[in-house]
């Protein structure tokens, strides 16, 4: 019986020739990540295990990105605890303010995750690295603590879903629209405990930034991981970032899938997920008149260079609506600098937008754009649960960067073609 990429990566890290869905295996991890809100829990638990040091100071990664630069004294205390742990264990990959970025944009950018790797993180969007052809999945603080101590974790080998998409995407349609479209079709638990493998010509033509967006939101369908086989595009991306050897895995022809979904790229229009679930999607043509108070462009889903370029292309020479606020948050320092050098900031600032230092901030109602009761935001982020960005009576609409930028100009949900 053939294996999928996911099964091959898990088998390789379990020291086995093969694995099958349902197998419980212990695997070696190539990277074990936590952030400023999950690492404190990991540290508390790690200190109970009774080991002196982490399993590998190069592979334990901490990125303080959620409530940083700190929003209050309690978040500063957490960041301090995390910082002191990083110093004590001489972690190579601890990223301080000024060098950090939103974790799932930062790690691929620095070449810390490569094709064929097995990465875990105490953050649900750790599944982002599937865009590189790696197996990666989110866990909790205690799971990470155990992995920091032993270099291993346990996994149940998931069953597989295949999403095959062929054809050329329409203008402005990006990875975000693809994944929202898929979640709209299968629901927020449509891939519960399962692997989501994305195949077909449409993905082969997709930029790395868009591939990360797609895999980032696998968790919003309940998925264990999302994965796109590495190709020439991936190799080129990785070559600029790392000299570490890696393995490219591909699914066998006779690999087993619980279900195969076939979609056509031409059917995917710009998507918006209405409150309060990522699966509550509508095509832009069915969005209707929705007045928006605040637009956020950023996050581990859509704070990358491609997203900022798209937004700037639409905002150039235009103004953000007088009753709408636009907050742009480049996901990493490198993206920030590149965007600045390309003149994107001038476009944003001339349009009347605020440009922030990298942070997860408003995505989870932390800071830098929290909503009041009755307010509506449209964001390029990943969740629109009740109260996600602030008051429980606020609303979040999810979309890609093109809709976000056009919406900021119109003050109502809109696409670039309506400008």
């Amino acid at each position: 019986m053939g294996m999928t990429i996911t099964e091959k990566i898990i088998a390789a890290h379990a020291g086995r020739d093969s694995v099958s869905p349902g197998d419980l295996v212990s695997v070696k991890v190539d990277l074990a990540l936590a952030n400023d809100i999950t690492a404190p829990g990991s540290i508390l638990e790690f200190n109970k295990v009774g080991v002196d040091s982490v399993f590998d100071r190069d592979k334990v990664v901490i990125v303080p990105d959620h409530f940083t630069p700190n929003r209050d004294i309690k978040s500063a205390e957490q960041a301090k605890m995390v910082r002191e742990f990083a110093y004590e264990h001489e972690l190579t990959n601890y990223f301080e303010i000024g060098r950090m970025g939103v974790e799932h944009a930062l790690l691929p950018e620095l070449g810390l995750v490569l094709p064929g790797d097995l990465a875990i993180g105490a953050d649900s969007h750790t599944c982002t690295y599937g865009g590189l052809g790696a197996f990666s999945t989110g866990m909790g603080s205690t799971d990470l603590a155990a992995a920091w101590a032993t270099g291993e974790t346990w996994l149940k080998v998931p069953t597989n879903l295949k999403f095959n998409i062929e054809g050329k995407l329409g203008p402005w349609v990006s990875g975000k629209d693809i994944i929202l479209y898929i979640i709209g079709k299968i629901g927020v638990d449509g891939a519960l405990y399962k692997s989501m493998e994305f195949t077909g010509g449409t993905f082969r033509g997709l930029s790395m930034d868009s591939r990360f967006s797609v895999c980032n939101m696998a968790i919003e369908a309940g998925g264990k991981n999302g994965i796109i086989a590495a190709d020439a595009e991936t190799r080129a991306y990785v070559a600029e970032r790392s000299s570490r050897p890696y393995t490219v895995y591909e699914s066998d022809e006779d690999a087993e899938y619980e279900e195969v979904f076939e979609f056509s790229a031409s059917d995917i229009e710009l998507q918006i997920a209405f409150p309060h679930l990522p699966s509550n999607t509508r095509g832009l043509s069915e969005a209707g008149d929705v007045v928006i108070d605040q637009v956020v462009i950023g996050s581990c889903t859509n704070g990358r260079l491609e997203d900022l370029r798209t937004a700037a292309e639409i905002l150039k020479g235009r103004q953000v609506d007088s009753r709408t606020r636009l907050i742009v948050i480049p996901a990493t320092q490198a993206i920030y600098k590149q965007a600045m050098n390309e003149g994107l900031f001038e476009v944003f600032i001339d349009a009347g937008a605020a440009v922030s230092t990298p942070t997860c901030g408003p995505c989870l109602g932390g800071h830098m754009g929290v909503l009041a009761a009755g307010e509506r935001a449209l964001a390029t982020t990943n969740r629109n649960f009740v109260g996600r960005m602030g008051h429980k009576d606020s609303e979040v609409y999810l979309a890609g960067p093109a809709v976000a930028a056009a919406t900021a100009v119109v003050g109502k949900i809109a696409g670039p073609d309506s400008l």
């Binding site: 419980l24 809100i37 999950t38 404190p40 829990g41 508390l44 638990e45 109970k48 295990v49 009774g50 080991v51 959620h66 409530f67 209050d72 309690k74 978040s75 205390e77 957490q78 993180g121 105490a122 953050d123 649900s124 750790t126 989110g138 866990m139 909790g140 603080s141 205690t142 799971d143 603590a145 155990a146 101590a149 032993t150 346990w154 927020v188 638990d189 519960l192 405990y193 968790i219 309940g222 264990k224 679930l277 989870l364 109602g365 932390g366 929290v370 969740r383 649960f385 009740v386 109260g387 996600r388 429980k392």
Partner: protein, 164 residues
């Protein structure tokens, strides 16, 4: 383990931002977290729960973020177990790792009303609706997971492992 308490019913897709909203993730203290548990849906949840009570919910309980604060907050309110039609996978791991008993039983969920008195034998995998007398059997955890639970959670299990 024997658990007994009254049922608090919830619908499907109860996400981690409902269980414990992100702004409160600046502590791992169970009492502090419990004060805000379920706040967007039921601001008085912590006051309504009596020690031993049980959450009974529909599909996909605990979807969303990886925050382990979620099972910690639930335990902090005095809730002793969650019975759901299904659990989101990270929440499932976190519940086991933090020692919050979770049981998957669509039949039991449909047959338990808010306020019903419920008894659970986690070892035998039996849920009893004491109010109606109906009894439900739950599939046991796989052996490995049962071992983690039996050791008292993942950290105890890991301690034994590193001690050889």
């Amino acid at each position: 383990m024997e658990i007994s308490g009254k049922a608090h019913k919830f619908g499907r897709d109860i996400d981690t931002d409902i269980i414990i909203p992100a702004p409160y993730l600046t502590t791992f203290d169970p009492d502090e977290l419990a004060a805000h548990c379920m706040e967007p849906l039921a601001p008085d949840f912590n006051e309504r729960v009596e020690a031993g009570d049980i959450i009974v919910a529909d599909e996909n309980f605990g979807c969303g973020s990886s925050r382990e604060h979620a099972p910690v907050a639930i335990k902090g309110t005095g809730i002793s177990a969650v019975v759901a039609k299904s659990f989101a996978r990270i929440f499932f791991r976190n519940a086991i790792n933090t020692g919050l008993p979770i049981l998957e039983s669509p039949e039991a969920v449909d047959a338990i009303n808010a306020g019903d008195q419920v008894k659970i034998d986690t070892t035998a995998g039996v849920i009893t609706n004491v109010t109606t007398g109906k009894v439900f059997k739950v599939a046991p955890f796989p052996e490995f997971l049962a071992g983690v639970v039996e050791a008292g959670g993942l950290i105890e299990y890991t301690k034994r492992k590193v001690a050889g």
